[in-house]
């Protein structure tokens, strides 16, 4: 197991030697000690390291029940039989794998910022996925474009594949809307689990429907709202023709202190609205700046939010 991690790490660093690696080895070492936490207990498909609703084989005792013919003799509590002279079957909590889904917004608007929001989104996704992989969870990563055909990996040995996928994922001009992407995602992934959606929420059609769809799946949903400093505090001056990089929508503005103030109000309102929308629907909302280091984000922020432990 150890060697495979090393090889994955090596290959990642080799892969990303030309460009910046999404995850540094140090970061990976830190991540290995973490685990993803789900507030809900889901049923997995395979045996894993997660407690399941199902009783099964694990070291964790769950209950006793009367032996009935046909039960596996291996689970009879002989000590209890000796004391009570009755056959009891010792039940253990079944440990199953956790389904961890990451959905990354790959619309053109994510390509902004330094580093770009998309890159930061990929780093967050990679970090969380790596944690999941280390804990043997089932990790599914997809972008909006590829929401219908996500990459599904399991086990630490797949880290290389996962990182490779993320490394090569580009922002796409043909990215579908958030609503469409989530709809496809939901159709494709019927299982339960943790969903982390990393997006800037800059969707003109709105994000509400998409999130509602996810909520309806009864998944443990995390929304990582990523915004670049340029969006949070625009440095624009003068008379400008603002061009939307996605739909080429054009807005003429004469930037003034008043306008900037109004923008800030609008932005705060937008964030607040998103936060309150999420809170009402038990979606964990996490706001992230693209120029923020992801280490404190994972170690403090997400830990506090209960996504990682």
């Amino acid at each position: 197991m150890t060697s495979s991690v090393e090889s994955a790490n090596t290959s990642i660093s080799n892969d990303s030697s030309a460009t910046d690696a999404i995850l540094s080895p140090e970061m990976m070492a830190k991540l290995e000690r973490m685990e993803l936490v789900s507030r809900k207990i889901f049923r997995g498909r395979m045996k894993g390291e997660r407690r399941s609703k199902r009783k099964g084989q694990s070291v964790e005792f769950a209950d006793f029940r009367n032996y009935v013919a046909g039960d596996d003799l291996r689970f009879i509590d002989w000590n209890l039989f000796a004391r009570m002279d009755r056959l009891y079957l010792k039940l253990f909590l079944e440990e199953e794998d956790l389904h961890f889904y990451t959905l990354i917004d790959d619309s053109m608007s994510m390509d902004f910022g330094e580093p770009s929001k998309f890159r930061v989104a990929k780093q967050i996704a990679a970090s969380l996925a790596y944690i999941g992989l280390c804990r043997g969870d089932r990790v599914s990563i997809s972008t909006f474009t590829s929401s219908a055909s996500p990459i599904v990996v399991r086990g630490r040995s797949s880290a290389h594949r996962m990182l490779g996928f993320l490394q090569n994922a580009p922002c796409s001009e043909t990215s579908p809307t958030m609503e469409e992407s989530v709809r496809r995602f939901c159709l494709k992934n019927t299982g339960k689990g943790i969903v982390v959606m990393i997006t800037d929420l800059m969707s003109k059609t709105g994000y509400e429907t998409a999130l509602k769809m996810l909520v309806a799946r009864e998944m443990d949903i995390y929304l990582i709202h990523i915004l670049s400093p340029e969006e949070l505090k625009p440095t624009l001056t003068g008379d400008l023709k603002l061009l939307d990089c996605e739909d080429l929508d054009m807005r003429e503005v004469s930037v003034s202190a008043t306008l900037l103030e109004r923008y800030e109000q609008t932005l705060n309102g937008f964030i607040e609205q998103a936060r309150s929308f999420c809170n009402r629907r038990s979606i964990t909302y996490v706001s992230v700046r693209s120029d923020q280091d992801i280490d404190p984000l994972l170690n403090e922020y997400l830990r506090a939010r209960g996504l990682v432990r």
């Binding site: 003068g238 061009l243 609008t266």
Partner: protein
């Protein structure tokens, strides 16, 4: 509403360039910079309320432009200094008296004294308070009111600009009289031997911009005027000038001519130079001139074999005033008057016509009375071959084309009748009581001792003049007949009878008779008597006596400009357009050659003196120069205007840059 233009055309052009500049800035502003943003979602929301009403938004965008254009329009309006003729108190009265005589052409101060005077006057006008009224007078030997009292500075400045240099002499008194008269119109009125002040005397300040060569001012002319003398020019400016140039024909040898000139050195140093004499622009003689400081020398040239032409004397010496370094003279055309005498025989008359002077003046043809019936006479009288025809005790059947002098005989009936000549019956004896001294023909006649046996009264038409009056009535008169003149004497000297001649008057043996004949031929015939053409000061009037053989003459000035004049009835003419120094020629309509010449010369010792006077003498008082002490108020509104415009542009740029703290 009245307007005063305060800017030059160039400044107006600059001002006119500003509105397009603002407009172009406005259009530049519209050309927005493109900026790619992740999403316009939030921006859209942020500017959502601004888009509620886009028309208002557009208006608001334009509002700034309108405000700026309005500001600019007001600025331009302000430059026109709009105003009403209100009831404001009239401020100080100022009179700018600017000398434009010949000495002001001096170049001791650049570009010339006159230009300096004009710029000083303009500075004074610009510095005057807006309530002040002012007038502009240019003066040389005469005053020229260029602009009456007005507070319109633009008109005053234009009036100053219009002043041109002249070659005339200086007489400030007329200018001051004009100033005083215009400043205080109707100062006094006489009524029953009382001196009544009809208008309140308003004091006015006269700014005299002159080099001071104006002589003494008459104190009486000053009235309420306060004179500020602003001297123009550098003190001690040296100058050499010709103050006299004349020619004389040698009486013994007609083709020899002598020229005399007087050259004055108005400087502090001895001057050696050359004087060159040109005849019709060809150098004919030259002489070196050596004059001590403050002295004058005479210069004489002799020319032989010269019949006619123009002479020019030039000093090749560079000094501040060049106009007095050239003098002109002309030899008059040696023209003789053609005179026809028709007589039955008159010894006194014939003797009078044979004097040397008259021989030079006139060519005489004597015919008997019978000649009047000949075809030659018909032809000669029809096409004005003679300047003057003298009918001695006879008369033609028809008046000839030409001036006539009747001695005795009754002219034909075609000049008698209603409002024409009237002749009385023969009566006698008679005595001449009065002679008209104002007419050149009878100017020098002494007729008191002349006895007349019989005479007729001669009553000229209304247009005529009686020249002699006897105890029985007018006896000699002159009157125009179309372009000609008829002079008719009411008695003859000798009367032809069957027995011979009978003496009718003893005038023929009196001294006054040849004088009369000479004057009559000179003035009625239009003869030229002197070799030297008359010379006048520039701008002066010249009296010309022109032959009756042509009715129309052209006067060509030194610059070649031609002025056509109609010969007056009496053949005399006064010409005043002599501002350009040089030789003027009079051409007869048909003849190519000049029939008369005259010159315009600046022969003025005072104009040639370029020294600056410290004071102006007004008799009792002396007015000191105040040029140095006149406070010039420098206007700064133009600069403020420029700064205002600059601030406007800066405001615009700052607004566009959105520099905010």
């Amino acid at each position: 509403m009245s307007w005063i233009n305060m800017l030059t055309p160039m400044q107006w052009l600059l001002l006119a360039a500003i509105p397009p500049a603002i407009l172009s800035l406005y259009f530049l502003k519209l050309k927005r910079r493109e900026s790619l943003v992740p999403s316009t979602l939030l921006w859209k929301k942020a500017i959502e309320d601004l888009h509620v009403n886009s028309i208002w938004q557009r208006l608001r965008k334009n509002l700034l432009l309108y405000l700026q254009l309005l500001f600019l329009a007001l600025l331009i309006l302000a430059c026109l200094r709009p105003g009403w003729s209100g009831l404001n108190r009239i401020g100080e009265r100022r009179i700018y008296v600017i000398d434009n005589s010949a000495s002001m052409q001096a170049t001791d101060v650049q570009p010339s004294r006159l230009e300096v005077a004009k710029s000083k006057a303009k500075a004074l006008i610009s510095d005057a308070s807006s309530n002040d009224v002012a007038m502009v007078i240019a003066f040389s030997d005469r005053a020229d009111v260029r602009q009456g009292f007005t507070s319109d500075r633009r008109r005053l400045l234009d009036a100053v600009d219009s002043i041109q240099p002249t070659s005339r002499t200086t007489d400030a008194n007329e200018a001051l009289r004009a100033a005083s008269g215009l400043a205080n119109p109707g100062r006094t009125s006489f009524e029953e031997n009382k001196d009544i002040q009809v208008a309140e005397a308003v004091p006015a300040t006269v700014y005299m911009l002159t080099d001071g060569a104006i002589g003494k001012l008459a104190e009486d002319d000053l009235g309420q005027l306060k004179i500020e003398y602003i001297p123009i020019g550098k003190p001690g400016t040296e100058n050499l000038g010709i103050v006299g140039f004349a020619i004389e024909r040698d009486d013994s040898q007609k083709e020899n001519i002598e020229t005399f000139s007087r050259i004055i050195n108005r400087g502090s140093e001895h001057v050696d130079c050359t004087a060159s004499l040109y005849l019709d622009n060809n150098l004919v003689d030259a002489s070196s001139v050596s004059i001590d400081a403050g002295q004058e020398v005479g210069l004489r040239f002799e020319l032989s074999g010269v019949d006619t032409g123009q002479l020019r004397l030039e000093l090749d010496h560079q000094d501040a005033l060049m106009v007095d370094n050239v003098a002109y003279a002309a030899i008059r055309p040696n023209r003789q008057v053609s005179v026809l005498l028709v007589t039955a025989g008159n010894t006194a008359l014939e003797k009078a016509l044979q004097t040397g002077k008259l021989q030079q003046l006139a060519s005489l043809k004597i015919e008997n009375v019978g000649f009047l019936d000949s075809p030659e006479y018909e032809a000669a009288s029809g096409d004005a071959q003679f300047d003057l025809i003298i009918f001695d005790a006879c008369a033609p059947k028809k008046m000839p084309a030409g001036n006539t002098l009747f001695l005795g005989g009754v002219p034909p009936e075609d000049i008698q009748g209603d409002s024409r000549w009237e002749f009385g019956e023969l009566t006698g004896p008679a005595l001449i009581l009065d002679v008209n001294r104002t007419n050149p023909v009878t100017e020098y006649l002494e007729m008191a001792s002349v006895s007349i046996v019989e005479m007729r009264t001669v009553k000229p038409p209304a247009t005529g003049t009686v020249l002699m009056t006897s105890d029985v009535g007018p006896v000699f008169a002159v009157a125009p007949r179309g372009p000609y003149q008829d002079a008719i004497l009411g008695f003859e000297l000798v009367r032809p009878t069957a027995q011979g001649v009978e003496i009718n008057s003893d005038w023929g043996i009196r001294r006054s008779f040849p004088v009369f004949i000479y004057a009559a031929i000179e003035h009625l015939g239009g003869g030229i008597t002197a070799a030297s053409a008359p010379s006048v000061l520039p701008g002066g009037a010249i009296h010309l006596t022109l032959s009756s053989r042509s009715n129309r003459y052209d006067i060509v000035d030194p610059k070649g400009k031609k002025v056509s004049i109609d010969r007056g009835v009496d053949g005399r003419f006064i010409y005043t357009q002599t501002d350009v120094p040089g030789v003027y020629e009079v051409h007869s309509e048909g003849l190519g050659q000049a029939v008369e010449r005259f010159c315009s010369n600046l022969f003025s010792a005072s104009e040639s003196d370029l020294g600056i006077r410290d004071t102006i003498d007004t008799g009792a008082d002396k007015i000191a120069a105040t040029g140095a002490t006149i406070r010039a108020r420098q206007e700064t509104w133009r600069w403020l205007l420029v700064i205002g415009l600059g601030l406007l542009m800066l405001e615009w740029i700052i607004f566009n840059k959105r520099i905010f703290v």
